[in-house]
Amino acid sequence: MSAVDLATSSVRDLNSALHGLAADSNDTSWTIDNPDGAHAIAVGLDAPLEVTINGHVGYYCAGMNKTANVTVNGHTGWGIAENMMSGTVRVTGNASQAAGATGHGGLLVIEGDAGHRCGISMKGIDIVVKGSIGHFGAFMGQAGNLVVAGDVGENLGDSLYEARIYVRGKVASLGADCVEKDMGPEHRATLKDLLARAGVDADPKDFRRYGSARRLYHFNVDHADAY
């Protein structure tokens, strides 16, 4: 078990130490204290580490994460788990905007609320939000699942590709080309699995599914009004 106190060491030193671990290192359990809103904590991890951050972090925490499990016991700034590839990132508080942006894989769990543009341009990541999210959720989402147990702001799924969206609460409005779709057994199974892995106690039957109407994949002058 390694402990780093960011009140006395720099984020650069911390990240260098995490990046420098050998692939077969036994030093896999890390605790980070006093993050005090610093940016880019634990970015670019590429090893099966267990990292626990006690406190509130700034921008891009756990960005580009690969195989590591990162837990933030606090609030996160912009772009938590941005471009995550695999592994798990869990936030016990609220997250600011662009949570999980462009993520390719892995699971991002936000136990509080997330701000706007949650899952923007998601490319395969799974995002589960226990609370509510702001506007433009899953904007241009290409793949993966966005699950929201609370409410959703305006323009959900605007210009959506193939990302799937599951919402239990109210949806303020759907964005261009986003429509409600039927919930089949395979969708319920996916949702059940995601809720279980995220530790969210909710019944898949209470959710509605949204996806792309696939009218905006290619520019079509007849649809100009929808762009």
Binding site: H56, H75, G93, G134
Partner: protein, 303 residues
Amino acid sequence: MCGIVGLFIKNPELSDSLGDHLTTMLIGMTERGPDSAGIAVYHHERADDTAKLTLFHADTHYRWRELGGDMGEALGVETDVEVKDNHAVVAVFGGDEAGARAWLKATHPEVRVMGYGRTMEVYKDMGKPADVAEKFGVRKMTGTHGIGHTRMATESAVTTEHSHPFTAAADICLVHNGSLASPNRLRKWLERRGMEFETDNDTEVAARYFAFRMGEGATLDEALEAGLKDLDGFYTFCLGTRDGFAVLRDPISCKPAVLAETDDWVAMASEFRSIAHLPGVKNASIWEPAPATLYTWSLEGRA
């Protein structure tokens, strides 16, 4: 880029440390704005019939006491002058603040009015936030609430006058992170309606816009709601008023903002870094304010 901060004290026992905390918050936003910095602090409330003006002249040896004496004589009132580096706070006892400003404009055009009212004082200058705060002794300031700004200039010159906060009206001023899309058009619109401008800065346009709406009879909340329709561009605003403070973001909200609240205080900042060292922050509720939503706190509700 710019960084903005605001701190509103709910527990009066913390009022003595307002300046200390505000300074730490301001310094926390240095990377977002190293060009210039400024604060508005609400303290030492004057009586109903007493005005307080914060004035600026680049010369640190400017003869402020002479100016105070002349002003008192011309307006037939008592004045009191407190000098802080290149700023001075002039109290005008029993005199109206509009009369004092008119006299200054006519007789001392070289002097800039940074702020006016009964409780608000405004200090701003070029330089790093730590240096600006040191220059004016912000750490030692007491009070109920304050707002601050660190500037990385994008649309107009780096000067003391272009620094924030911008005063909108008596005891109301504004800090801004963002840029307005068509400030010149709105400035012309306001000028046609009698508003006067001191700089070509876009934030001053927003400040004058709110002043204009309130001059028409709008409450602060109504003025801010109207701003959501009339102000085009990116903004996170933090406003200080005589008895409180307000936060407003544009409907897209590209510019950052974080709010934190405990039983003792409410804090707003562009980034959490500026809030991280406030007392009791570990148990604060922390969230990102929603777009196009008005957040206000008032001293009236204070314990």
